[in-house]
């Protein structure tokens, strides 16, 4: 375990209880209303590598008993050290062992088969993925995905922007493949700089016009 350079480390929540409660509330809203963009407000000094809501979400959710897997762009960065220091979480090398996965923008996600989807008896043992995206839109527009399912009144729309269409298609394919596993599955939080969008396993995603 390499020594953490504390001099460059940012502070966590100003008030641990209130800060993490507020972020937890945002995550709860995001999962309750899939496809809706929810603002994440925190006073934590998130690492430079991710000026995004994902760091605050992980800071609120992780503790010493939640193994975290980081994508290639985040391993050995200040972000990893920052989470280790403030939450005491374990960093794991293989995504199979993880309960949380954090992927930086444009980083390759682990293969669907590598992620723990829980068991039929204990579906809650599944992994939660926090994925950074540069920007996303929840408007009904061309090529937007249509979201249906619990928490969505009629239909919600989602477009992940600034990502190659091929990786978008791959993501969609993986999500659709996982829907057959229900109640097993993987819950996803898409994080931009200011807010998050929740995609719980109950949300059906289909390409626009399907």
């Amino acid at each position: 375990m390499s020594a953490v350079n504390l001099a460059t480390l940012g502070a966590g929540f100003g008030d641990i209880a209130l800060g993490s409660q507020s972020v937890f509330r945002s995550v709860l809203s995001a999962f309750s209303y899939p496809g809706r963009s929810v603002a994440v407000v925190s006073d934590a000094e998130v690492p430079d590598i991710s000026r995004s809501a994902s760091a605050a979400v992980l800071l609120a959710l992780l503790d010493a008993q939640t193994p975290l897997w980081l994508s290639a762009g985040l391993v050995n960065t200040g972000a990893a050290a920052w989470l280790r220091f403030h939450t005491g979480c374990t960093l794991v090398d293989s995504p199979e062992q993880a309960q949380f996965v954090w992927a930086a923008h444009l980083d390759e996600l682990p293969d669907a088969s590598q992620l723990c989807a829980g068991t039929d008896v204990n579906p809650e043992f599944s992994v939660t993925c926090i994925i950074d995206v540069a920007s996303l839109s929840t408007l009904a527009q061309d090529h937007a995905w249509e979201l249906t399912g619990p928490g969505i009144k009629d239909k919600a729309y989602l477009t992940i922007e600034a990502v190659a269409p091929s990786s978008r298609a791959r993501f969609l394919q993986q999500q659709q493949a996982r829907q057959a596993l229900f109640p097993r599955g993987v819950d996803i939080v898409l994080a931009t700089a200011q807010g998050i969008v929740g995609l719980p396993r109950t949300t059906q995603i289909s390409p626009s016009g399907a």
Binding site: L6, A7, L9, A11, G12, I16, E45, F85, H86
Partner: protein, 173 residues
Amino acid sequence: MLQAYDSTVASLPLTRPLWMALLARAPIAMLEEALHAHAQLTPIWLRRPETGLMMVEGRTGGTGQRFNLGEVTVTRCALRLPHANGQTASDSGVVGVAYVMGRIAKQAKLAAIADALLQDPAQASWVQSQLIEPLRLHLGQLEAQRCTDAASTKVEFFTVAREAGSGNEGDEE
């Protein structure tokens, strides 16, 4: 690897592990007195003082198998000092860390402030003379006192060898 950082011998060069070990055992009154105005600072907290339990391990005779001696309460914190001129920029540099036995948050805070000051070359010398040297002396005296107290209870065990001669005595019994 066992390494003794709890030595109070003044000849040892003052390294960070050594001064952290000294600060961990510093009485709160001593810290307060030596740090004066610095004790009143409002630090930028990286980790607010939090109290938890730690398992202390021992070895029989100092060399035997490890065993769990018992749990102790430990308070730890990490902080960053604000700039001397009142700025509260977070890039002020050094981070002070303290792990102190007990549950007194203030003691952990003061020890961490002292740790941060000792890492700052501009401040290290006065902290060393105002705090570390008296602290070494104080802890050395405590240790000597404990040694004297323990020495006074020393008991000499000896066995009396059976006297030789009149060899038949044993056989008759």
